[in-house]
Symmetry: C2
Subunit: 545 residues, 2 copies
């Protein structure tokens, strides 16, 4: 039997587009003499469709797409993920299902049992878990269909679930396991995924074809990396990260095994490539071509500009340099140098006159109150507004350039530097931003050395430095990681040896700034715990504030 | 037996504050000779605690609060909701539980079985459903403890669930049902709640004490309205809406029944009182005293200003009048008149000079491109910035004044009039805003008649009217309601008799403006489907866009 694995970039709710991509892949599979082709989880509608699933009309559109695929299955098996209806009134209205079409008919359906409802996942919001499990016989082989999370409780170590779908099927005898996934990227996830797949093939003594999505849906990035694993526990093949691809395999070769073909990619390269794909798909799926961002001469906007240029091309990025009276000379020069290195369009608008027009109108109200964060924010907001003005006039999308460290502690101005349609590096800690900059410069200087080496500053008052109000980023990032990614409490973090006063101050800053993050753009997710839909915190909460 | 019902206003994560409120109520119950006192669901930590529940330290703090309550139970029974730990590794780490303390000991615990995971609810994200059910004998009475949703599947008509906790307990014999709730307000909910309670008491032939939260937690408002119902199906008593209260009842009186004491409150009054409480608690729980908002002379900002003044007092509100060259004379006069009627501080800042300073700086880039939405947005954003400048300088919170109709179709400027810490009327359709204005004027003119009667306009270009770009609000609101609240698709809405082109245009506007709502302040929720945490839509989705 010959199996074709299609690692495709779906688009949520774009039924025509998704169906056409699948039809093209079916044609390729046919040319490759495949007996069966496999797509991803919820492939008709894209993942995550979120509350669109509550619209009967949306489910009908998915059903129509399934019909097209069913009709295309004349001489080839098609395995595809899509929502299906729960026929009984009890329980949720839908299942998250794997359909098997052949010879124009549906020959099998298996629903998903393990429904992730944590972090960015809300599956139990929509889906009823499967209670029945069975394999399907196709061309003499017993195929076990599973959907994503269904293979993740392989050793019953996962405390979230109480059953294991493959255990329920194994009495029928399993010749091949097929898993349709929509498994979002984070920099740890590909390794975790391969570990789980290895455990499964060893436990069930059967090969596994694991088909993932690739591409980004707003903040959620899918890295691809679909896996074919042999019963000997070796990864027979791994499809590329961050790229659409399709490959066909002889099942007998995979069963024989003895081939190891795993990719290795550094954490920083994964983050880099993931963010480039995230930007590219955010623009592509919304039908926009060009990004605009403010270039300050600092490292955050520099790294964002490089990522954007790699995603959209140099014609796809323009930047604004917006010096104030507090900007250092080198800021404009560093920004210009970067823009020239990248070959992107740049304009310079000094914000001093606009700033002074605000101060003049506010003077009757502010009188002689001293300069404080208000005036700093006015500058940041003028820059945000100028970016937005160009965005409106020319149909561009503003990129938010805030990093995760400053988003965490609220070191940013709402409606100012926190503007933007998508936050590019809002899940990247400052120390990782430096690592990205170095990675970008590995084949020659793109980001000026001075941008990397100078002390970070918002330049919103004379001689300001980030270190005036924040601890060193090395320490800050560690404490934030313990709190955000590891969900340690203050006592646990202090026990690790950090200064108590500092820990309490940082945790308080994280919590009292929830209101800013609530109103910030979606954040491209590259870590196991990004700000946004996967981290849901009360704004008026008193805990640690 | 004498039962005390404590309808309290909890604060998420404010363990000390919540515990102190409960201790005060216990003292009052003691004075009232009560045998047992009942609090709400997750009363130690407040509802919804969201991802704080993932922090071991947070659960420990809740446990410490429970210990204080347990020790206070020397001579009085205390029934209180709080998270408890799941002792086995399988399944989620926590239960959502009702504890029963007496004589310094925990005499019973019952976990919640029906975990709402829809709209604003994420309970399956955190909690394992109960699988065991039992009653507790207290002073000769069999008490069935239930938590919120547990009583909502009374006639097994609710398609979400497959079991009914009270059915599991009824073999033990039920003398009293106690339900600890955190049941969020919407303008339909009190009636639905009373219907469900009536069905339960009739079915189980036992009285029910239903204890709700009151108060707002960011966007989620709890209306109180705790209910005591008799086995004859009558509402024996109902605690007030939107107010903290505590009352004691002789169980024998409640069992005897024959007393009907239900509140009636109009939809508009509920919305009005709910929003006032929502503003009050947002400020109170964050420790802020004063709101600022822009007063345009239009109805949305007028209604918001009245609500804010009723919530925070006239010392708690200041307004900015920010006319541009496109503002009509009556706008400033209407706004002034309202501010004077309310007795709130107002300042006038003309935005023309700031606007022109932007145009001047943008001229080298914009050249002779025509005036368009860009220049409209600049005006709206200047106003947003001026509000934010005062907010920063004086420590106020900006109120967002956008209504639900315009939030739905994206008729608003991101970082402009969409600014604000909390959206006051973002769940109130335009026609309901008019109804609110009339309700506010029922005992004398507060909002100038002209503000109510003039055609709505953003006044961002000469002679602009909302009706230039939007259909009549009567039609618009109906179509939006079909789509948002009722989740009807385009075909279903068109079948109701609306013009196809209009329906498709409006649904498209709703979907392509998801990115604006993503970055808007939390919206005080008064309807069954508000924008925000209860409505989760993909930004890059192609469906209906």
């Amino acid at each position: 039997m010959r199996i074709s694995v299609a690692q495709l970039n779906y688009h949520i709710g774009n039924f025509e587009g998704n169906t056409q991509k699948m039809l093209d892949a079916i044609e390729k599979a046919r040319e490759g003499k495949a007996d069966v082709i496999c797509f991803g989880e919820l492939a008709t509608c894209g993942y995550p469709p979120r509350d669109f699933l509550e619209f009967e009309d949306f489910i009908q559109k998915s059903d129509e797409a399934l019909n097209v695929l069913k009709e295309a299955s004349t001489d080839i098996g098609i395995i595809v993920g899509a929502p299906s209806r729960n026929p009984v009134p009890e329980g949720k209205d839908l299942f998250n299902s794997a359909y098997f079409f052949y010879q124009g008919k549906q020959i099998h359906i298996q629903h998903k049992a393990l429904l992730p409802t944590y972090d960015i996942f809300d599956e139990y919001r929509y889906f009823e878990p499967a209670k029945k499990f069975s394999t399907v016989l196709f061309k003499g082989k017993r195929i076990a269909l599973t959907v994503c999370e269904d293979i993740w409780d392989v050793d019953q170590e996962n405390p979230l679930y109480t059953l294991n779908p493959l255990d329920e099927m194994k009495e029928e005898g399993i010749d091949v396991i097929i898993n349709l996934s929509a498994s979002p990227f984070n920099y740890n996830h590909a390794d975790a995924r391969k570990e789980v797949i290895k455990k499964n093939v060893l436990k069930y003594k059967a090969p596994m074809f694991y088909i993932n999505h690739v591409g980004a849906q707003t903040e959620v990035i899918f890295d691809g990396g679909s896996v074919v694993a042999s019963p000997d526990g070796l990864i027979f093949d791994e499809l590329p990260y961050f790229k659409t691809d399709q490959r066909h395999y002889e099942l007998s070769d995979v069963i024989e095994g003895k081939q190891r073909s795993e990719q290795s990619m550094s954490k920083i390269q994964k983050i880099h490539d993931g963010l480039v794909l995230g930007i590219k798909d955010y623009f592509g799926k919304l039908g926009f071509k060009k990004a605009i961002l403010g270039l300050s001469g600092g490292i955050d906007s520099a790294v964002t500009a490089v990522l954007a240029t790699r995603a959209l091309g140099k014609e796809g990025v323009r930047v604004l340099l917006m010096p104030s009276q507090f900007s250092s000379d080198h800021s404009v020069n560093d920004a210009k140098e970067l823009a020239e290195n990248l070959g992107i369009q740049y304009d310079i608008i000094a914000i001093k006159d606009i700033y002074e027009s605000y101060l003049k109108e506010l003077q009757p109200i502010f009188r002689d109150l001293p300069f404080n964060v208000t005036e700093e924010n006015i500058q940041a907001r003028i820059r945000g507004m100028l970016n937005m003005a160009l965005s409106n006039k020319f149909g561009n999308i503003v990129l938010n350039t805030s990093n995760k460290s400053e988003m965490a502690v609220g070191y940013g101005t709402l409606y100012g530097d926190l503007c933007g349609g998508i936050s590019v590096i809002g899940d990247v800690y400052k120390m990782e931003v430096y690592a990205l900059a170095k990675y970008m410069n590995k084949d020659g200087i793109v980001i000026p050395e001075n941008t990397i080496n100078k002390p970070p500053s918002a330049e919103l008052r004379p001689n300001q430095k980030d270190s005036d109000s924040l601890p060193d980023y090395e320490i800050l990032d560690q404490i934030l990681h313990h709190y955000i990614e590891e969900r340690k409490g203050p006592k646990e973090i202090i026990q690790l040896g950090y200064e108590e006063k500092l820990v309490r101050r940082i945790l308080r800053l994280v919590n009292i700034n929830e209101f800013k993050r609530y109103q910030t753009a979606p954040v491209l997710r590259i870590s196991p715990k990004a700000f946004g839909m996967g981290r849901r915190m009360p704004i008026v909460g008193k805990y640690l504030s």
